[in-house]
Symmetry: D2
Amino acid sequence: MRIGIVGVSGYGGSELLRLCFGHPAFEVVYVGGESSAGQTLSKRFPALAGRAGGDLAIQPFVPEQIRGVDLLFASLPTGKSREPLARVPDATKIVDVGGDHRFVEGWTYGLTELPGQRERIRNSTRIANPGCYPAAALLALVPLLREGLVEPEGIVIDAKSGVTGTGRGGASDFGYVETNEDLFAYGLEAHPHVREMELALAQVAGSKASVAFTPHIVPMARGILATCYARPKRATTAARLLEAAQSCYRDEPFIRVMPLERGRSPHTGWATGSNLAFLSYAVNAQTGLVVALGAIDNLGKGAAAQAVQNANLMTGQPETAGLAGLPLWP
Amino acid sequence: MRIGIVGVSGYGGSELLRLCFGHPAFEVVYVGGESSAGQTLSKRFPALAGRAGGDLAIQPFVPEQIRGVDLLFASLPTGKSREPLARVPDATKIVDVGGDHRFVEGWTYGLTELPGQRERIRNSTRIANPGCYPAAALLALVPLLREGLVEPEGIVIDAKSGVTGTGRGGASDFGYVETNEDLFAYGLEAHPHVREMELALAQVAGSKASVAFTPHIVPMARGILATCYARPKRATTAARLLEAAQSCYRDEPFIRVMPLERGRSPHTGWATGSNLAFLSYAVNAQTGLVVALGAIDNLGKGAAAQAVQNANLMTGQPETAGLAGLPLWP
Amino acid sequence: MRIGIVGVSGYGGSELLRLCFGHPAFEVVYVGGESSAGQTLSKRFPALAGRAGGDLAIQPFVPEQIRGVDLLFASLPTGKSREPLARVPDATKIVDVGGDHRFVEGWTYGLTELPGQRERIRNSTRIANPGCYPAAALLALVPLLREGLVEPEGIVIDAKSGVTGTGRGGASDFGYVETNEDLFAYGLEAHPHVREMELALAQVAGSKASVAFTPHIVPMARGILATCYARPKRATTAARLLEAAQSCYRDEPFIRVMPLERGRSPHTGWATGSNLAFLSYAVNAQTGLVVALGAIDNLGKGAAAQAVQNANLMTGQPETAGLAGLPLWP
Amino acid sequence: MRIGIVGVSGYGGSELLRLCFGHPAFEVVYVGGESSAGQTLSKRFPALAGRAGGDLAIQPFVPEQIRGVDLLFASLPTGKSREPLARVPDATKIVDVGGDHRFVEGWTYGLTELPGQRERIRNSTRIANPGCYPAAALLALVPLLREGLVEPEGIVIDAKSGVTGTGRGGASDFGYVETNEDLFAYGLEAHPHVREMELALAQVAGSKASVAFTPHIVPMARGILATCYARPKRATTAARLLEAAQSCYRDEPFIRVMPLERGRSPHTGWATGSNLAFLSYAVNAQTGLVVALGAIDNLGKGAAAQAVQNANLMTGQPETAGLAGLPLWP
C-alpha cells in the first residue's frame, strides 16, 4: 500500500509516520506539511538520517497533486481539512485524523469498536477518525448504554489529557516552564468533542444523550484518562458493569477490560505507543452513580494507531497489522 | 510562640518547618520524627547547615516529654496520631494536620473559611486541620450550598492531586519512573475524605449531603484541582455562582474568586507554596449542571499553610502572619 | 526603598517581584514590561488579584520617565539593556540582571562573594549581576584559584540548567512536549558566559584563565549544577579543597560548603527559591583532576536573589534582608 | 529462537520483553524474576492481559532448570549474576545485560561497533553487554582514539542519565517527589563503569587510558548524554573529528554521526525506544579541547536493544531484526 501523510510534523503526524514505517504492508511515499515544507524527513526525524525514507521531501499540501497514493492520513489543524480533502482524487482513500469530518455526510465515523462500525469502515473510502477524548470516553460508556444500564442524559465526563492533546502549534501556550508542575481545566464553555460524544452515545442508546464534559491538561506528553459518571437506570454492581464491557468487547484485539486493583483505575502509562484502551468500572457507594474509566494513549487509540486500524480495514490488511507491538514502558 | 513539629521529615512537616522559620512570631523549639529521629535538622534540610536551628536534633516523639511548647503541629500518618496526641500536655495547643481527629468530639474542624468556623478555631486548643481534597472541594462548594443554589446530594467531586498527596512513605509505590508521564484514579472503592466532605457539606446545607469522590494522582509534586459537579436547585448562571462565592469570601485574605478566562479554570501552579485557594464557576450548557472548581497547593491550603493560619488564630497572631508571601512561580 | 522592576513578566522578573514583595524594606512602585505592558500586575500574577499592589499597571519602559525610584532591577533580554539603562536618571541605582554590563566600564560585577567585591558593590550605583552559569561555577572554583590549588587554564565547566535559564521568550523552542524527557548540550560553538567566567577567574588567579564550557538544558524549571574539572598544581585531596572553600566563605550567609555524602554532590533542589549556593569537592582517583561542584537556583543565586543581595548592600539594608526564607521543598 | 529473560520485571527486563515480543524470530518461552516470581506476565504488563504470552508465569530463577532455551537474556542486579549464570546449561547462549561479566575471562564484551568486535560476538556463546554509560561514551570516543586524534589519558566523561539507569530497586531513593525538578552528580568517589571504559579505550588506543567520570541523575526516565572532553594530540577541527567518526561507522545501521546544529548536540529524546546512538563533535575554541558527545536511550543502545543486536549476531539473524522501529517521539 502506498501511503501519504499530511501534517507529518505535528504530534499525530509523527506518530503516524512511526507506525507506518513499522507496518509490514505500508510504504510511505508522500509526506506533506506546512511549516516544515521543503525539509527532508530526516531533518524532522533524526533517526532517519542516512536511512531509507530519510531523504523524502516534505511537500506543501496540494491535494490535486496527490498521485499514486492508495491511502492518505490527514492530520491537519481543526478547520483546515474540509476544503483541501474535498479536492483529493477519489482513488485515494482518506483517514482524517482531524476533527472536521466527524458525523459529516459522506464520512464514516472511525471508532472501530462501536457496534456495527467495523463493517461500515471496511466499506468506506472516507473515514473521520474519532477525537482523542471521545475515544477514551465512548469506549468506556458504550457497553453500558448498549445494555441500557445507565441513563444517556446528564453524563459527566471528566477527562485528563497529556499535553500532546493540544497540538504542536500550542507551544507558546504550553511552554515547559508554564506547563510542568501545573494542572488546569479548560473548554468549560464549549468544546468541539461534546457534539461528537453526544451523537455517538445517542446512536448507541437509541435516544437523546447529553454530557457535561470537562477536559484538563496534565503535565505529561501522552495519555488520556476519562472518568465518567452516569446515573444507573436501576441499582447495579461493578461486576455487572464489567460483564457488560467484557461481553461487548469479547473479540476486540485492542480493548482490555480490567477489574479495579486496590481501588485503582488503569494507568494511562499502560498504553503508551499502542492502540490499546483499558476500561474499568465502579459503582459509587455514596451516590449509586456508575463510574466508567477509560485510559488510552491520546496519540494511539486517540489518533494515529486508531487511524492505522481503520486503514487496515479499508485496505484489506489484517486489523492488527503494524499495531501488535507492546506499549513502551517505562 | 514556642512551636513544636512532629513528623517533620514528611512532606507536610517539611512545609510546616519552612513556614515556621519564616514566621515573625514562631520559634521552632522541638522537632519530632520517626525514621529521621536522631538526625539534626540540617541533615534533612541542607539549607540549615551551619545556620541557627540547623543543629536541632529530631526527637522520637514521646508526648509526655513535650515541655515548654506553646503549640504543636502534628503531621503523622493516618491512624498514628489519636493515641499519642491524647497524651500531649493540656498546656500545649495542637493542630493535627493528619486525618485522625476530623469531626471527632473535642476537636474543632480547621477549615477557617467555613461559616462561623473562624471563631470556633480562635477559642479552641485542639484543631483538626482539613484534608487536602476537602479543602479544595469544600471551599468551592460551600458558597453554593450556603445559598441553596445546588442540591447537596449526588455531588460529583473529581479531584486531581500532585504526588506529595500520597505522603512520603509512598515512595516505593511512587517512584519517579513509575509515576512520571502517568496518571490514574484511585480510592474508587473507599476514601477517608468522603465522610469529612459529606459531614462538612451537610453542616452548611442543613441537610444530608452525598458525594461521589474520585481522586487521581497526576505527575507533579504539589497542587490539587477539584472539579465538582452539582445539580442546581433551579436554573442558574455562572455570574450568579461567582456572586455567591464573592459574597461568601468577601473579606477572606486567602481566597481568590476568579471568572473563567478563555474557558479555563485556575491553575494549581498559581498557588504553589502559598495558602491561597482559587475558585471558579461554570454552568454546563448541555446538562445544566453546575461546575465548581477549586485549585490549591495541597501542602499549602491543603495542609501546612492552613495549619499555620489556624495556629495564628489560636495564639492571637494576625491571621496572615507568616503567610503573606507570593507563591513561587515558576 | 522605592523599587522598580523592568522585565517583570519574564522568569527572572517574576522572581524579583516575589522577593521584593516579601522584603521588609522594599516597596515596588514601578513595573515595566514589553509584551505585558498595559496589563495590571494581578493579570500576570493571579495571587495578587484584589490585593495591595495587584492593580499596579505594567508600563512600557521609558527610562526618562522613571521617577522617585530609588533602585531599579532590570531583567531585559540580552542586547536590550545597554541603550535604555544609559538613560535612567543618575539618582536611581540599577542592578542589571541581564548580560549587557558585565565587565563593562562604569559597572561593578555583582558576584558578592568574590574576594573584595562586597565593598565595591556597597559603593556602586550600577551593578552588573552575574550570569547564572558563572554564579554556580565561579563560587565553586574561586577558592581553589585564590589559594593557587589548580591551574587557571584548561578548566572544563560542564553545566546543567533548568529550562527557565532559556528565558521566557524561548517557549516556542522549549515547549513542554519537546523539552520533557529530553536532554541536550548547546552553546558548543560560543556562549556569552565564557568571557565572563574567564575574566573573573583571571582576576582571582592573577593570570590568564581559560575554560571549556558546555551548558546543557535539563527537563526541570529551576536549578543549575556546574561540574568543573581543573588540573591541580600539585597533588591534592578533597579535604584540602573543602578546607579552602570553607576558609574562603567562612562568614558568607548564603554559601554552604558540603562534604560529599555517599559520593553524591549537592542537589539543585536544595536551593529552590533561595539565594543559597551549595559547593562540594572531589579529587578524581584515575586522573588526579580536581572536581568542583556548585549547585544553585538559577533564578535565585543565579539571578533575582543575588540581585536583591546586591540591592541590600547598595541601599544599606542588612545583606540578608528578604532572603532568609528556607528553600521550597518539595 | 526460544528465548528466556531473567529479571523481567526490572526496567531493562521490561524493555527486553517488549523487543522480543516484537522480534520476528524470537519467541519468549521463559521469564524469571525475583520479587515478581509467581505472577503471570500480564500482571506486570497489563497490555498482555488476555493475549498470547500473558499467562506465562514468572519463575524464580533456577539456572539448572532452564531447558529448551536457545538464548537467555539476564538482567540481574550487579553482583547477582556471576554465580547463577555459571550454572546455566552450555547449550543455552547468554547475553548478560548486567555488569558482572564485562572484561571477564570467557565472556565477550558486547559493544558491537568496537573495531573487530562484531566477529567475536558472532562466535561467542557468552556475551557481557556494555554498561549504559560506557555505550554512550565509548561510541563517541572510539573513532578519535582509533585514529590517534586525542590522548587516551585524562579524558573527562561527564554523563547525564535518566532515572531508569538507577535500576528498579532504587525507588525508595528515587521517589517522584524527591527526583523531579532535581539534579545531582553521584559516583564521585567510585563507579564500576570506570574500569570498563578504561579497558575498552586502552584496547582501541593501544596504550593506557584514564578517565575522570562523573555521572548525574536527571529528572527523566530514559536517555543518556555523555559529554566527553579529551586533549587533542595535535590541533584539530570539528570537521576532522566528524570525518573520523563517519569513516569508523560508515556501515553501522544504528549509529548516526551528526554535525552540530545551531551549536546544539543531539537530544537524548531522539533515541527513545531504539538502538540508535547519535554522535557529535566540537573543538573548544578557548582551550583546544576536543568535545565528543554521545546520546542514546540507556535502555536501548545502553541495555536491551544492544542485547538484542548481540543476540541477533549470535543466532544468525539479520543484525537489525526486531530493532528497525523508529524511536517513540514525543
